[in-house]
Amino acid sequence: MSVTEDKAALIVRKPAAAGVETPFMRFRSDFTDSWVATAALAVLCLIILIAVFAPLIAPQNPYDLGQVDIMESRQPPGSRSFQGYIFLLGSDGAGRDLFSAILYGLRISLSVGAMSGVIALAIGSTVGLAAAYLGGRTEAFIMRVVDIQLSFPAILIALMLLAVFGKGVDKIMIALVTVQWAYYARTVRSSALVERSKEYVEAANCLGLSHKRILFRHILPNCLAPLIVVGTVQTAHAIALEATLSFLGVGLPQTEPSLGLLISNGFEYMLSGRYWISFFPGIALLVTIVSINLVGDQLRDVLNPRLQR
């Protein structure tokens, strides 16, 4: 979709309602073809809203020590707290309301996942574009680095970085970005290579447009579809990876309790049958990842030009 097309779409918005199908409308109707994907999108939106408004929804601020009582630790779901509200999902080892802790945990998990995804996307697509546009040795070198990196599992690379750097939000962001950028670079390069050989780029070259303008205004917008698909899948991966690393105790510190950390904290109580401390944060994580993956799957089907119906 080029810029001019966007403008055209704006201009014809009124008549479009009367029958002409705008690209967005077609995208929407294609997407809602699958009720599973539609439901997943709804759930995902709900999760994001919950995470954003967690302080308003949660009955307790689980990290305000004034509101947490260690005497109330490990209460089963449904029991009543001293302050009168009900521990919907029980309480954890420190006496925090688990429901509130999950809401706050979602906030951290989602923001770490999304932010690392955005940074990795920015870096990866710039590098990928550069590789495709410059070609030659630069391209060969960049792609060799990408290949070597992708031949090692993400968790291994992340573990190594964290082993060197130590714990912390910034550290785990660096690790997640390092793990992800190569996927974006590869995606952008391959679709940019396809675009570069098309005639409109040649035309833009003939018009004497600057490299920067051709790259970012002409080629990049045409790589958007695969980027969106890879982006969704990678965000789900990043969230799962962060949870795994935090669970292993090498990710986020205890002061930033993401879902992975909550699950990890509940692990020690599991063997004594207090399942809920690990179980419910895990369900929250699972629902988040599954809904992102389902949305991603449908996006891939809808945006894939080869499957155009």
Binding site: V164, F165, L248, M270, S278, V290
Partner: protein, 325 residues
């Protein structure tokens, strides 16, 4: 064939060399190698001795050569915690990890290929749909959480399987492994399944995709026109074609299994090199971390090499390409 193997071997050596440079400079530039490799609790005199032993007083280029020499002779420093050579520690734990990874690989093959084959041959049957839905779940479920749930259900609630540790070992044909005792197997089932989960889903998808593509090929139709039995068409004509990519991917994924065993070993308290790594990270036992990194890079490179050579053995077309080249 030999020329191909030699060429591939050279490539692998280059990758190892490049990785060694990265590891070396990672250790040297990101942190102070003195902090990295020498126990900070040692007294000044010991530190001086260690600095000289590791060649840290020399210029950086020489240091790298020294590091290479040390690495080749298996001297990667001593563990702060255990006081033993780091490499030796890791090699001691390696059999347990290998055993777990092999068991997981085995599960991925014996569960994944038949399920994928069925789903590919009968894509519209309810069972195939359930299989595919489950495999999507297998991709999305965080492995560590599934491990916890397995412990909760099978160890805590049902009490069927032991939750942690490695069982009794026995020696069979000169190999010592916990695979040869019932107790060992019962300890193995859950961690191996947990580790295999992702790969089972992967194998199902690969096999299914390969099957669906292959059944449309002329050679399958021709085999049917020859009046061959269904079983021969499926297990010889079809399977032999789709196994090539599946085996290739599985070979490459075996390294992933070893890497991911870090998580599984932590959950099930499995005494392998993955658990050692996590313990070392938490206790800042850096020589062990460096040694693990070098070993795992070597494993990956060797695996890639084996897979490439195996691929050329399996697929006659690749062999020919090599002969002509």
């Amino acid at each position: 064939m030999t020329a191909f193997a030699i060429r591939r071997l050279m490539q692998s050596a280059i990758v190892v060399l490049v990785m060694s440079v990265i590891v070396f400079f990672g250790v040297n530039i990101v942190g102070d190698p003195v902090d990295m490799l020498i126990n900070p609790e040692a007294d000044q005199e010991d530190i001086e001795i260690a600095i000289r032993a590791l060649g840290l007083d020399k210029p950086i280029g020489e240091q790298y050569l020294f590091f290479l020499k040390n690495a080749f002779s298996g001297n990667l420093g001593k563990s702060f915690i255990f006081g033993e050579p780091a490499l030796q520690l890791i090699l001691q734990r390696m059999p347990a990890t290998m055993e777990l990874a092999l068991a997981a690989l085995f599960m991925a093959i014996v569960l994944g290929i038949p399920l994928g084959l069925y789903a590919g041959l009968r894509p519209h049957s309810p069972f195939s749909r359930i299989t595919m839905a489950t495999s999507i779940l297998g991709f999305s479920l965080p492995t560590f959480w599934v491990g916890l749930m397995m412990i909760m259900v099978f160890a805590v609630m049902l009490g069927w399987l032991p939750s942690t540790g490695r069982g009794d070992e026995a020696t069979f044909l000169g190999v010592t492994s916990s695979l040869f005792t019932m107790n060992g197997l019962s300890h193995m089932v859950m961690p191996a399944l947990n580790l295999a989960l992702l790969k089972i889903s992967l194998v199902i998808r690969l096999t299914r995709a390969g099957t669906r593509e292959a059944v449309l090929q002329d050679y399958i139709k021709f085999a049917r026109a020859k009046g061959l039995r269904q079983s021969r068409i499926i297990f010889v004509h079809l399977l032999k074609n789709i196994l090539i990519p599946v085996i290739t991917v599985l070979g490459l994924e075996f390294g992933g299994l070893i890497a991911f065993s870090v998580v599984t070993e932590t959950i099930f308290a499995w005494p392998g090199m993955g658990k050692l790594l996590i313990d070392s990270i938490q206790q800042l036992d850096r020589p062990v971390i460096v040694a693990y990194l070098i070993i795992i890079v070597l494993i990956f490179v060797v695996l890639n090499l084996i897979v490439d050579i195996m691929y050329s053995v399996l697929d006659p077309r690749v062999r020919l390409g090599d002969r002509k080249a």
